[in-house]
């Protein structure tokens, strides 16, 4: 008789989501990201797709799933811009991979961990976008405004916490 043995945190706390949540939540995030800055221009500082990418990656704790989720969300985001398709796709692929890898190692349910993790991921996202634009695409006039990036990371971290709390309820029961 085969018995299931839990040998790691990944196997112990790996979560899954229904297909509807997997498809509709990223779509809703991209939709809101595209729609909200029109009536509320200040909300352009948000990056809801990145919040969703990080959430799914750390919840599934599967680097391949995290990479693919980040790539798909980033590519869809790129398709709505005038940038070459792949800029956000590459950045979010890396972030999805790292988030899933971190989720295996540490307890990402803790509030403090989530704050630090989100803040760090948003700064890393800005750095990756800067490198892709500057080095791969050769946009010499792209600069990192560190104060703005810190503010963006802080604001997105504050927004990410309640979203994580809401999305925790969409996890499929084991």
């Amino acid at each position: 008789m085969a018995t299931r043995s839990y040998t790691s945190r990944r196997e112990l706390e790996q979560h899954s989501f229904s297909p509807a949540v997997t498809v509709l939540v990223p779509l809703a995030a991209i939709l809101l990201q595209a729609f909200l800055p029109r009536p509320f221009p200040k909300l352009a500082i948000l990056d809801l797709p990145l919040i969703i990418t990080v959430f799914f990656a750390v919840s599934r704790r599967n680097p391949v799933a995290g990479t693919l989720t980040g790539a798909l969300i980033g590519l869809l985001q790129d398709a709505l811009t005038n940038q070459p398709i792949g800029v956000n796709g590459m950045a979010k692929s890396v972030l999805g991979y790292i988030a899933a890898s971190i989720g295996i190692q540490i307890d990402v349910e803790n509030l403090t961990t989530r704050v630090i993790m989100n803040f760090g991921f948003f700064l890393l996202n800005s750095l990756l976008l800067f490198l892709i634009n500057r080095r791969l695409l050769g946009h010499s006039d792209v600069h990192i405004l560190w104060l703005h990036e810190l503010l963006r990371a802080a604001v997105n971290t504050v927004v990410a916490l309640p979203i994580f709390f809401l999305l925790d309820r969409t996890r499929r029961a084991e």
Binding site: P37, P49, A79, L80, T81, N82, I85, G86, D141
Partner: protein
């Protein structure tokens, strides 16, 4: 080998995905630009799928919000509407006067352009569209509007508002289109500084500012100067407002050029309705010609009214001056003719200009007094001068034998007649 792939499965998947996207980026960047299509066919297809997925939902949200706002603003929130209407009427009157002042110059300019065979492009047809969404990325400043190729839109058509230019169409899909804003880092436009008539190239920047960085320092360029489209880019018609110069400073990256930052005329952050210019023509549209004709007629009527008012004012001033003279100078009244009593009801004489002025009576007459000097025909050369008897009264005639010293003998006259005074110093 199998254990290698199993062990490094996660990293290999990440590397494969990154590699694929890097190749995709390289293909997009190296692709030669075809006319009318900003992206290759495959990229356009991906964008089309994404836009087709997102924009219907955006349109739904936008329609919902629009209807709520419409109902609120048109049926509920009507406070101050009457006052606003009054203010708008005043504004229309003021604009009509301004239009009249500019119409004749405009017509003269058109005449000169016709003489020079100058090709001007006027906005002929536009399509009004509503903004339904953005790119959602602050490195990509694009908007989505609810009109597309089915409505006659094409790539590279200019998008404006009544305040100024917004950008141009980039990707056009059947029912929606992507507007590239002028503050995007890939945007550009040919512009003209209104006061100095210097041509320049406007660019967007990564931080969302509009800059001009192809001009060398010029003391004539000052903050506050207006910037217009030059028409040289063949996208934006000539003469549309772009913005005003906000700051001028040396460009640290491109010396000796200056970095001129503009404040856009239109609020690029909160756009709801825009106009897409779908056609231009070399002559003014009929509506504009009619407006211009109305303006010219108004200007001519104003000029005629002003001329009439000036003429009446001049006549009134002349009448007033004559009346003042007539009142304060009694000698103006002819003593031989009786005072006319048929004055106008307002007190003005019937013919103030017809009175011949006469000098006042002399209080202390001398030989220079009018009438004291005999006519030149009565004088004899070498005749002895006689003391002059001044007239006793202003009304009495001068004595016929009164003589003046002969002009050829002034010294004798001086010695013989001490009463006479020497007119020469």
């Amino acid at each position: 080998m199998e254990s290698f792939f199993t062990r490094f499965k996660n990293v290999l998947v990440l590397v494969a995905i990154l590699l694929a996207q890097t190749i995709g980026l390289a293909v997009q960047v190296r692709r030669p630009v075809e006319s009318g299509t900003p992206d290759g066919a495959s990229v356009t297809l991906i964008r089309y799928w994404a836009v087709s997925t997102i924009t219907p939902l955006e349109r739904l949200f936008h329609g919902f919000g629009y209807n709520i706002r419409y109902a609120w603003s048109n049926y509920i929130d009507l406070r101050h509407t009457r006052q606003q209407n009054h203010e708008l009427q005043e504004q229309i009157s003021r604009l009509r006067l301004e239009q009249a002042a500019l119409s004749e110059d405009a017509i003269q300019g058109h005449r000169l352009q016709a003489l020079l065979d100058f090709q001007q492009h006027y906005v002929a047809t536009t399509v009004a569209a509503q903004v339904i969404g953005t790119s959602g990325n602050d490195l990509s400043r694009v908007l989505y509007i609810d009109k597309g190729s089915k409505d006659g839109l094409k790539s590279d058509q200019a998008v404006i508002t009544p305040d100024g230019i917004i950008g141009k169409l980039r990707d056009v899909f059947p029912h929606t289109a992507q507007v590239l804003l002028i503050n995007d880092q890939t945007s550009g436009a040919g512009v003209l500084l209104a006061t100095t008539r210097i041509r320049a190239i406007l660019r967007g920047s990564a931080t969302g500012q509009i800059i001009i960085n192809n001009l060398t320092p010029d003391s004539r360029i000052k903050p506050g100067d207006q910037v217009l489209t030059s028409g040289g880019d063949l996208v934006y018609p000539r003469g549309l407002a772009v913005g005003t110069i906000e700051s001028i400073r040396p460009d640290p990256d491109h010396q000796p050029y200056t970095l001129i930052q503009l404040r856009p005329a239109a609020n690029l952050n909160q756009l709801e309705e825009v106009l897409v210019i779908t056609g231009t023509q070399a002559t003014l549209p009929p509506e504009a010609q009619h407006d211009l004709a109305v303006g010219v007629a108004t200007a001519q009527s104003q000029a005629a009214a002003k001329q009439l008012a000036d003429q009446q004012a001049a006549e009134a001033a002349a009448k007033s001056a004559a009346q003042i003279v007539a009142d304060h100078l009694p000698s103006l009244h002819d003593s031989d003719t009786p005072e006319t009593t048929d004055a106008a009801p307002g007190g003005a004489p019937s013919n103030p200009g017809g009175v011949v002025p006469k000098p006042l009576p002399t209080v202390h007459p001398d030989r220079y007094t009018q009438g004291a000097t005999p006519p030149a025909a009565d004088l004899k050369p070498g005749a002895e001068s006689t003391p002059v008897t001044p007239p006793q009264s202003p009304s009495s005639a001068p004595p016929p034998n009164a003589t003046q010293p002969a002009p050829n003998k002034p010294h004798k006259s001086l010695s013989d007649s001490p009463q006479t005074t020497n007119p020469q110093p």
